[in-house]
Amino acid sequence: MGPLLYICDIIVYIGIFGIVSLSLNLEFGFAGLANFGKVAFFLTGAYTYALLSQIGVPFYLCLIAGASISAILGLLVSLPALRLRMDYLAIAVLAFGEILRLIVKSEEFAGGNWGIAVSPVFPWMGSHLAYRLENIGLVYLCLLICFLVLQLLANSPYGRAIRAIREDEVAAEALGKDRSKYKAQALMLGSAMAGIAGGIYAQYLQYVVPGMFIPMVTFTVWMMVLLGGPANNWGVLLGAALVEIFDRGTNIAKDYLNLPIDPSNLQYILFGVLIILVLLYRPQGLLKESKIQTKALRLAHNARSTAKNKGS
């Protein structure tokens, strides 16, 4: 029973962080926005869920509220941040994430250091396995919705426009793409998805504490996107699965290894090394950027290949 529970737990985590990394993929992979404050929106979703569920709001409203408040925060952050160059944007949102964490840590309404207990979506039925399986259902339903929305966007003129802005924002602006609007939209939608993931996370663990939302969470999500392949939604899911398994795998391995240093620190070092290796040897990630596929493009492509076949 033990290993099965552990595997189910990993599957839940892959789903939750799959949603977060998909949302970062929209912002960074497609729109080129270096959001190093991803954890801020994850935190917002989690705390919104926790606070609302305490006063008896039904879970789906908690999730929607978490997504909305995250989206609004995303918009607010985008207003000053989008005037900044990409690297300054990264620093600004990184600081924003830390500020939010310090706020919930020091405010009484958010439970301070001890956090808040959260009531789960699925009440305890006396079975660890059932609890996990129910959550797998919820997580993967949300993941599926986010994935479908992002796939539709990636293969649409909107996706083409944000990719163009990523490639050369001055040229895109000169071709009629209002870059501030597109970037703000991408940040809002990405933040909303991170907010949903945060809500699910909070109710699965049944508590939230500030210590869950350290910057390392952001870096883990970045690792998932960079390893899997920016601008490829399938790749990012693969990255989320690999990084989560690596994370858990090293957690187990340290029980069996005798090392002169604390293995938990070694895990962070390994993460850093992995990011450097990926960026050096496989900057496009495991899977290449997905091509834009619209129905009209497919038809044109097919027409061409049949013409070629006839010609030869």
Partner: protein, 254 residues
């Protein structure tokens, strides 16, 4: 008489104490190829960037189709049909040649987030037509066989051609071209201008900076000569070439 498509009145732009553009007046009518020549550093590109909204003019007014466009953002100026092809191509290199063209399509309904998700049938239909138009334009510049290749795989000359083709894709009323024939073999340079002539009879005006005067003067209907931020000469190409001051400006003092 019809009012000019582009009217520039007393426009100045300075950087620090240097006037890059100094009290320029000029008119572009609704069709034809309009040339802008002058030595390097005479302010041609600054003037273009000011028209496009990439710089704000310090003084003066720019009217496009009767509307003052001084304070509009570049994407709003584009929406009015005033489009630009950059001197050094600024393509979206990881996108395909065809996608580069489609980004430039003016009024693509799927460009909006909401439409992209919820009005899929509408923009899919529109995109079919746009792809046909894009392939036709690519055919003209001999890039049609490469339509599905990434723009990053194009050669230098081809990139230049795609930059121009992308400008045409927007169905502009006025297309600004900064040195379209530079870096392209002479025969193709000539062909580009022939194509521009074809388009100009269909109601597109072109405002062209070009150092290859032999090509420009063959096709242009009117030429402005700039020097040190001012328009110093204007007229039909023949009149310009017979003016001795033109030679002293362009080829240096005797």
């Amino acid at each position: 008489m019809q009012e000019a498509l582009l009217r520039i009145r007393e426009v100045s732009k300075h950087f620090g104490g240097v006037y890059a553009v100094n009290g320029v007046n000029l008119d572009i009518k609704h069709s034809g190829i309009w040339g802008l020549v002058g030595p390097n550093g005479s302010g041609k590109s600054t003037l273009f960037n000011t028209i496009l909204g990439l710089h704000r003019p310090d003084q003066g007014e720019i009217y496009f189709n009767g509307k003052c466009i001084n304070n509009l953002a570049p994407h709003q100026i584009y929406e009015l049909g005033l489009v630009n092809a950059f001197q050094l191509p600024r393509l979206f290199y990881s996108l395909s040649v065809l996608d580069n063209m489609l980004v430039a399509a003016r009024g693509h309904q799927g460009d909006k987030l909401f439409n992209s998700l919820f009005l899929r049938r509408r923009w899919q239909e529109q995109e079919k037509g746009l792809i046909e138009e894009a392939l036709d334009i690519l055919e003209l510049v001999e890039l049609e066989p490469l339509a599905f290749s990434p723009a990053g795989e194009l050669s230098g000359g081809q990139r230049k051609l795609l930059e121009i083709a992308r400008g045409l894709m927007a169905k502009p009323r006025l297309l600004l071209l900064d040195e379209p024939a530079a870096g392209i073999n002479p025969k193709l340079g000539n062909r580009i201008f022939e194509k521009l002539m074809d388009f100009s009879t269909n109601g597109i005006a072109f405002f062209v900076v070009e150092h290859r005067l032999e090509i420009l003067f063959e096709f242009a209907s009117w030429v402005y000569v700039m020097n040190k931020g001012r328009i110093v000469l204007k007229g039909k190409p023949k009149a310009i070439t017979s003016d001795p001051t033109f030679y002293s400006i362009y080829l240096g003092e005797e």
